[in-house]
């Protein structure tokens, strides 16, 4: 037990965490986290799971402290904040699957556009999985981002395109003055209706 305590203290000290300043819940949590590391090792998957848990369990630990505990950089830990569990696992899979191969060709844009529009809540890893499944190529998230941006399929461009825009050129219509008929005069009849402007023939199916 002493040896374990010593290792736990050393783990905390290399993460520059003062053990005395930890609350009892935090201490208990970190002890469990330490036990998890001891049991599962410190490979990438374990570290990723542990960091995801520590970042989202509301322990009150700072992001920098968690980063030092699991041995990742501060910006990386920050990027992992707010990521769903599914996306964290997908990212781990993607990271460990090796180097990307193949190229995103422009003709893939159609199926990718359809996938994005029919799966509104799909993560970028879902899209990468779809691309790998469909075209047999594995590309990086950066390549996917560039591809989507080039063809206007990224989230920012799509949300910008669908956002309502205030028209600058059009001046607001003036309020219409209500037509009033003088007393003892008949109400003027409305003008005869115009002929229908719409097409009245059947449309050709595409």
């Amino acid at each position: 037990m002493n040896a374990t305590d010593g290792a736990f203290a050393q783990w905390l000290s290399q993460a520059q965490i003062n053990e005395d300043r930890l609350a009892a819940e935090q201490r208990g949590l970190l002890q469990c986290a330490f036990a998890f590391r001891e049991h599962c090792g410190d490979d990438y998957y374990s570290n990723r799971l542990l960091s995801h848990f520590l970042l989202h369990c509301g322990s009150g630990l700072k992001v920098a402290q968690i980063a030092r505990l699991v041995g990742i950089s501060r910006p990386t830990a920050s990027h992992q904040q707010g990521v769903s569990s599914k996306e964290a696992i997908q990212a781990a899979h993607h990271r460990m699957a090796g180097r990307s191969h193949g190229k995103l060709l422009p003709r893939y844009a159609g199926p990718i556009a359809e996938f994005i529009l029919t799966h509104a809540d799909a993560t970028r890893y879902d899209i990468l999985d779809f691309i790998e499944r469909t075209f047999g190529v594995r590309v990086s998230t950066v390549a996917l981002h560039h591809f989507c941006k080039k063809f206007g399929l990224d989230r920012a461009t799509r949300s910008e395109a669908t956002a309502p825009k205030p028209s600058v050129e059009r001046t607001p219509a003036e309020p219409r003055v209500a037509e009033t008929a003088p007393a003892s005069q008949p109400v003027p009849l409305p003008p005869p209706p115009f002929s229908r402007r719409g097409r009245n023939t059947r449309a050709r199916s595409s």
Binding site: G110, F151, A161, R199, R204
Partner: protein, 442 residues
Amino acid sequence: MPQALDWLTTAEQCFADEYGSLRQGLLTSIFSLIVGMERLFHLDDMEDAGFARLCGSRRCPSRYTVGAWRRHLPWFEVDAFCRRTCPWHLLHNQDVLMSFDEHSIPRWTRKFHIGKGYVTTRNKYMRCEKLFTGYDLVSGRFLNVRGTPGNVNLQELAAPLVEQVLRQGRPRSLHALFDAGAGKSDAGVRTLWNLAEQHANLNVTMRACRYPHRMRAWKQLPSGLFVSVEDPGVCVDAPAKEVRLAETETVLKGEEAEQAIRTIICREIRSGPKKDRWHPLYTTSSAEQLDAHEVLSMYRLRQNHEQGHRVEVHDLLVDAVPCGYDKESPDRKRPRFHRGPLQMIGWLVALVYNAVADLAAELGPEHVGDHVRTLRRKFINRPGQLYETPEALIVYLDPFAGQDELLPVIDGLNAAHHRLPWLDNRRLILSLTPQGKTRAGP
């Protein structure tokens, strides 16, 4: 689409476009031919989003806009457009074999008295208008066009058309083939022969008119002059046809015996009581250059030009070109003639024919020679989805048989970064449904 964008750029340089209808008018005229829309008034029925975007807008064009644009094309602007879009690069420094022929477009107006011409398919003289075209028999492409009233014949236009090809195409050598229409009178024959004498790189071969007095003379040629040649039969198991060829000379009307022109008499022997067929050919090429059988074989290639006209009529609806006579003429018995609309749409038909032939060549050797209608059915008129993003117009075609043959064409088109000016310069992207995609369950 790439060719259409090039034609649009050229047209913007050639046409004044006072009413701003050039883009929609031109693109609609092109793509209605490609998709096989038979008549302009069918635009009323079109509500296809893809067709609308092809035609330069997000809404299908109105037939009134397009029709007005087509009817008011001045001949000099159309001539400029034709000159700049002719595929002269096919001829430059090449040994060219070209055919020149006319295509009659019948007109049924009784109100206007327009010139009559001979319409071969109806076998009679009737009111018509004509399109004269030059066709490169080596590459199988139309090279030039000229619209005329129906009473103009090939004899009047043969020399100008050949001169245009020599001047603008600059071929190393040109062998021009003509039907009998170019030599109805001996003066017409002599005009072409004089032209061949002026240009060292020009040879002319034409079918001679079978006037009775000439036929009598040819039939009296000694049988020893004729050399028998076997032609393959009409099909694999059919017996070979016997053709007898003879070389002689013909003295044209009012000329000396020294001016006689080389004539090849082809007598096709027919079995049974049927009469033999006689095909006399005049040619400027000497016997050292081409022997009689070579001249005959070369002349037979002219059928590809006739076949091109047939494809234009049945697949590209060339008979639906706007009429050349002016319906607002003050005197209906002497209507004015506007060459512009007739020639412009006739030339667009030829350009689309060439573009589709280019597409067939890109698709692979097994598609070379495919008719327009075949390619339209297989690859062009396909359903799909359109995705219009702020950056691109993505055309996502539904799966179809043989779509893999289209991959090189689509990759080439996507790599060329074509942008559509009428859609805020969006980039055009074509996509195919990947094969092997799992189908939805029942």
